[in-house]
Amino acid sequence: MNRPLAWVAAAMLTGTLCAAWGLLPGLAIPLLLVAAACLAGAFRLRNARIRPFVVLVGFIGAGAAHWELNQTPNSDPFADLVANNPVSVTKVEGTVRSVTLSIPGEDRLRLILDIDTRIDNKTSSPIAGRAVIHWTRSTGLIFPGDRILVEGEASVAIAEVNPGVNGYEDYLRNRGVNTAIDAAGPKAVTRLGEAPWYLPWNWAARFRQAQADNLARAMPERVLPFVYAVWLGHQSALSQEEYLDYVWSGTAHILSVSGVHAAIIAFTLNFALRALLMARRPRSVMVMSAVFAYALVSGASVPAMRAAIMVCLYMSADLLEREPDTTTALSLAGIIFMLWDPRSVFDIGFQLSFASVASILIFISLFQNRMEKVHWFLRGPIATSLAVQIIPLPIAAASFHALPLAAPVANLVAIPVLAAVLWLCFVTALLSFIWMPAAQIAGYATLLPIELIRWIAEAGSSLRPLSKIMTTPTTHAWAMYWIAASLLAATLVVRKDLRKSMLILSTTAFAFSFIFWRPLDYEPEVVMLDVGHGDATFIRSTTGETLLIDGGDASEFSDRGRQIVAPFLWARGVTRLDAVMASHTDRDHLGGLLYIIDNFDVGAAMLGALESDRPLEREFVARCAERGVPILRVKRGDALQVGNTGLPIFHPLPDWSETTLPNDLSIVTKLDFASTSFLFTGDIERAAEASLDLWSIDTDILKVPHHGADTSSTIPFINAVTPKYATISTGSHGRKVMDQPIVDRYKALGVSVLRTDRLGAIRFALVEGQLHVESERAKRGYPIAKD
């Protein structure tokens, strides 16, 4: 390893990580830097062997210092103002930072605005802040760098926050966005001035939007969502089902613009220009600018920019009469990103992108050497698709949780076809600015390769039963895995006689990593997930049983089961649920459970005793049958037993004729949790509350019925429960049934109200026998609105 920049990158990364994890606090960093400087001075003349280590210590300090300097939070007075006056109509001016692509069918657009002025009663005063603006295209297009005036309802930017799940709010807060302004209506956004002409991202956004508009006319509607994703980096037009096919076939990475795409562009363009007899230097310049243009126009994702930087280094090597060195190019790209924004180290795209390339560089020879019998034409691609898996595996497991077995084969076929798609997109985009009919010929030609990729994805995802679900590894497993990988890499460089013992060590380490992949002991806990409007509660009882009550909402646009509940469970190392209970058959409770039934090993499913023929219930029953999950119909008086955990059922009555309202047929049950107890009530309303046996329901923690609506929570009911805590599972946006008087009613009776819209997920855990209440928002340091 005599590549100095690789060591510098590693040292900076170490420093950054140490600072980020709080291992190098305060004084340590300047001390490291000063020590390195002194040592460098002392050893400069005498000891050339120690000098590199000193320099590395210096870079560790520099990486850490750079992280610390970047941590000073941006002051956001506008956010403070909004937090103190919730839901107020405001008028602000500012400069646009970024915009989403506007495509037909998607009316609601987003942009991020750097606010500098607030207008209040025609007097304007300066104020700083950064907000996400939700607006509609009817007001005309807006691009980065433009100055705009926005009028709308401002609120603290809030979305669902759950343990182990990366959500929209994390995305916003990582970008320094703290407020949201809802600027619906045609006159809510006015353009005050255009961006200065020299802003490259303004040009990139304009060019991107122009392409989106042209492609919509030049291409068949069927392929548009795919083209928007791979050519313009805009994924949201893809339907959920289609996206899942790509996930389960292991080809989802081709949908987000990454290094693969940039490399395809660079490689094929270089090849084509060479065939056209273009000289080396102009060719290099052409390829470099094309790749940068593509990376910018496709939304400047970290992987694409990384690839563009690496292509530039490759090409400029030729201009400097040197040979390119991939390891150094990768390291330099990493250093550039770390200097640009040290937080990018925690960007999943950054991690996967760098880990994949590093993995190929290190391990490709391992596979190539063992494949002498394979035809040379296939050897490279096969070795690459195997080598690329090794280092990123735990990262991919932690973020995607899927290890599709079809992936290597599916990618081997899909990536060459993707090259064809990208070229047809390029030709279509180019021609569409010249002559539309010609563009349409190329545009319709994309049908064939895209249908082929879609077919590969479908075929791959039909092998889903063979795929493995990967839970997020524990820290031990994580460390052990990378030790094993390092040992495996070492087998490639050590002496022959040591190789075998190295290989054995490495295999052992891999085995240990998989043994300790999941936590060995679990804390008992009850977690009310923040699923917006809807319910989802995860229970790990004191005796270790896992139980899920409800799974949140699921619609054609979003599935809480897939987006929140499943990742939350996988992040906790849970793949088996001893029981799943659907309190009743409303979509905001049962919807998300379908995904859970499909993807978890479920012991039993419980439903209320009264069957109905609602479509969702029938679908749920059918899925359970398909997966071989027994269904238990429960009614008042049943003493349910899940492992060692008893769940007495208080409701519904077996043949209750008082109502046919699904809400009133919700299951009511009680959980004893060490010395405390929980009452789960689903969405019961007054009638059901009145029918309950008031003597049995006295508990410490009450899940407030029906999301805190005034259909429920009658005073006799509350008095019978006499809870210490009342948890309300409700959303902050969209549909909302919670009523403030109900919240006040609980408070007046001396009950602490815990709301998921304020606190995020609420976790009750036993810490040394004592009940401990945690708010996920508080844990992450996100703002919590007060009354």
């Binding site: 590549r3 060479r274 065939a275 009469e321 040197r322 040979e323 060195d325």
Partner: protein, 270 residues
């Protein structure tokens, strides 16, 4: 600080930055190289690659086996060349090195790995040998062995032409002439296994373009490597037909059959 110092410092810094951002390694032993002197091979590997030194056959260029004519610094014909009166269409072959070691690797990288800059150290080798062994004023034309235009386009350059350009300054009266052309694509010689195959593959492959004028001219034919001689045989025949009085061949490397150097490369029957 005077101007010279500044430019020297600038050069040193440029080299440091280049070494940091684009480290280069010996293609044979992977040791790191810190200068652009050779750019691809460390001095040890480069120097240890066997050269062709006197005594060698002045006709076919083959070095005499160690022990034969030991101590003589003058060349003499080898067995086959001295028994035949006029064995080859070309007058002589001069090669700078055996097709072996670092130089073999260098030629392969030059041709098959798109690294035209290796032509520089190879050209230097060629220049040294030409300076020692050739009368540099005795040629009118320097003719690189041509590539078929399709392969030339695919490769982006003709390695023999690059080598010809490297040695051109040595030949005060000569110019590079490219009117010898390859009429049809042939197989890469080193991938053919028998002598016969190779001869067959180049028969009639070369010709002269319309503006060619070799009448009573002395020609130096340049090639990267002479394996069986089939290619230069064919080229020299065409040139002689075109009226050339002298056709000498200058190549970087000469593959010597029977030497263990590259039996794999030369095929099984040799």
């Amino acid at each position: 600080m005077n101007k010279g110092d500044i430019s020297a410092a600038a050069r040193e810094w440029t080299l440091t930055v280049k070494n940091l951002t684009f480290p280069i390694f010996c293609q044979q032993c992977r040791i790191r190289l810190l200068t652009d002197d050779n750019g691809y091979f460390c001095p040890t590997c480069w120097e240890s690659s066997p050269r062709i030194e006197r005594p060698f056959c002045p006709i076919c260029g083959k070095p005499h086996r160690a022990g034969v004519g030991l101590g003589t610094r003058s060349n003499f014909r080898c067995g086959p060349c001295s028994t035949q009166k006029k064995p080859y269409p070309y007058d002589r072959v001069l090669a700078a090195a055996r097709y072996d070691g670092a130089i073999q690797l260098a030629i392969k990288r030059l041709k098959f790995n798109d690294k035209p800059r290796i032509a520089r150290p190879l050209g230097e080798l060629l220049r040294e040998q030409a300076e020692r062994e050739l009368d540099c004023d005795a040629y009118d034309y320097i003719v690189p062995v041509p590539l078929h235009r399709v392969r030339r386009r695919a490769r982006g350059f003709n390695q023999a032409e690059l080598l010809a350009r490297e040695i051109l300054p040595l030949f005060s009266d000569a110019v590079i002439d490219t009117s010898l052309v390859r009429l049809r694509p042939t197989h890469v010689q080193s991938r053919l296994h028998t002598d016969k195959q190779r001869k067959e593959s180049v028969r009639g492959a070369f010709g002269l373009s319309r503006d060619a004028n070799f009448d009573k001219k002395r020609v130096l034919l340049i090639d990267d490597v002479v394996t069986t001689g089939a290619t230069i045989h064919e080229c020299a025949t065409v040139l002689k037909k075109g009226g050339a009085t002298v056709v000498d061949v200058l190549a970087v490397a000469l593959a010597i059959p029977g030497s263990d150097a590259d039996s794999a490369d030369l095929g099984r029957k040799e």
